[in-house]
């Protein structure tokens, strides 16, 4: 049997401002994750770093260490790779006032 391999869209056409994050995603079955953040529209203002966060319970979050600059142009893509993340994953970014990005966030998981 081939190993499990799933693409999950965790944020689609969501406009991120302020303290933004994708919804919690359970993926304890996966050994690795590649996460893409694509800007669907022209980002506004300065763009922060996006970071991968992990969690003991899906409710409390801590930075995993992987991060990437949010895309600065429409259709730009940021990518982060993680392993050893336990059960929960999400992507977070902190935007300054007046700054935003409309994103498509996809998580690609592999057993």
């Amino acid at each position: 049997m081939l190993p499990e391999n799933i693409t999950s869209v965790v944020a689609r056409n969501e406009t991120w401002t302020g303290k933004a994050a994708s919804e919690p995603h359970e993926a304890g079955w996966a050994r690795e994750a590649v996460i893409f953040v694509r800007a669907l529209k022209d980002p506004k203002g300065s763009q922060p770093m996006a970071r991968v966060e992990i969690s003991p319970d899906g409710m409390r979050w801590i930075a995993e260490g992987a991060e990437a600059a949010m895309p600065s142009v429409r259709d730009g893509i940021a990518v982060m790779r993680v392993a050893h993340f336990g059960n929960w994953l999400r992507v977070a970014a902190d935007f300054d006032d007046g700054c935003e990005s409309t994103v498509l966030v996809t998580i690609h998981l592999k057993a």
Partner: protein
């Protein structure tokens, strides 16, 4: 005088004996053909995110659909007690809403049919709110439910698209309601984008739900937010008459004579459609989780 069983009776007895000796299938009562049997240690088994229709721009998607996210493979991991696990493996399908009162999420499995006869949808499920408070939280999940999205074949006379909906209204505005409801009142289709090729309607809007007669039922919620028990559900539908036949949840079998489905003229690209949806809805600013241990879809053909 005794009569010998007919070949058909012997075949049925043999089929049941084989089913009941199989620990994975014995908990179901499938009709003769198993169309799919989903256990989520085997992956998502085709239960994908219900994405809304759009044209040219994702902004054309109706808000009801825009909120949807993908279902997950979950061990029901809890902060106080660890992974709960499923009935026969560590994994269940998890359909999670966002943490906003009234938020919904839907998972869908898309098939087509080859015979317009009886089908059976069997599920072991449970639901819980996110355990973000040290409270019972039994009224935090508004509803969980399922629907079919069906359309007759392209050669069928008077072909319709038919959508039976059933939900367990657990709570509404903090009141513990606990009853089954159906929905036959449709919503109007709207074109999405500039053209007329793509239409959309949000059929899970809060309005138009009707009580299933005799549909009050108290389920096993358990005593804290992180203890769960699996519940059995069975729904039989006739793809020929496009009518509901039978509905059971645990030890209760409900009268479906007053049940009605949404009906609308057939659409041009949906012939023989056989879609199954499972959904969850939250009644508070807290995520609602519908967990599905396993699903068995079968047909009489």
């Amino acid at each position: 005088m005794t009569t010998s069983p007919t070949p058909n009776e012997m075949a049925e007895a043999l089929r049941l004996a084989i089913l009941r000796a199989d620990p994975k299938l014995s908990r179901f009562d499938p009709l003769p053909r198993i169309i799919s049997h989903d256990e989520f240690a085997n992956g998502h088994c085709g239960w994908s995110q219900l994405v809304g229709n759009y044209q040219d721009d994702l902004d054309t998607m109706l808000p009801g659909y825009a909120q949807h996210t993908g279902a997950m493979l979950s061990t029901l991991g809890h902060w106080d007690s660890g992974s709960h696990g499923g009935m026969g493996s560590s994994y269940a399908l998890k359909i999670a809403t966002r943490p906003h009162k009234g938020a919904q999420n839907v998972a869908i499995k898309r098939h087509t049919f080859r015979h317009r006869g009886r089908i059976r949808f069997e599920v072991y499920f449970t639901f819980k709110p996110e355990a973000s408070e040290l409270k019972l939280s039994e009224t935090d999940v508004r509803s969980i439910g399922f629907l079919f999205d069906l359309q007759a074949g392209d050669n069928d006379k008077g072909a319709e698209r038919v959508m039976p909906h059933l939900r367990f209204l657990n709570a509404l505005d903090g009141k513990h309601v606990e009853k089954w409801q159906f929905k036959q009142q449709g919503t109007s289709f709207r074109p999405v984008g500039d053209g007329d090729k793509t239409l959309s309607h949000y059929h899970l809007s809060p309005d138009g739900w009707e009580d299933l007669p005799g549909g009050d039922q108290r389920l096993c919620y358990n005593e804290i937010a992180t203890k769960v028990n699996w519940t059995y559900l069975r729904f039989d539908f006739d793809l020929g008459a496009m009518e509901a036949l039978d509905f059971q949840c645990n030890d209760r079998v409900f009268d479906m004579s007053k049940f009605g489905s949404m009906r609308m003229p057939a659409m041009k690209n949906l012939w023989c459609m056989l879609n199954f949806c499972l959904f969850a809805e939250t009644d508070t600013d807290k995520r609602a989780f519908l967990y599905v241990d396993s699903v068995c879809i079968s047909g009489d053909f």
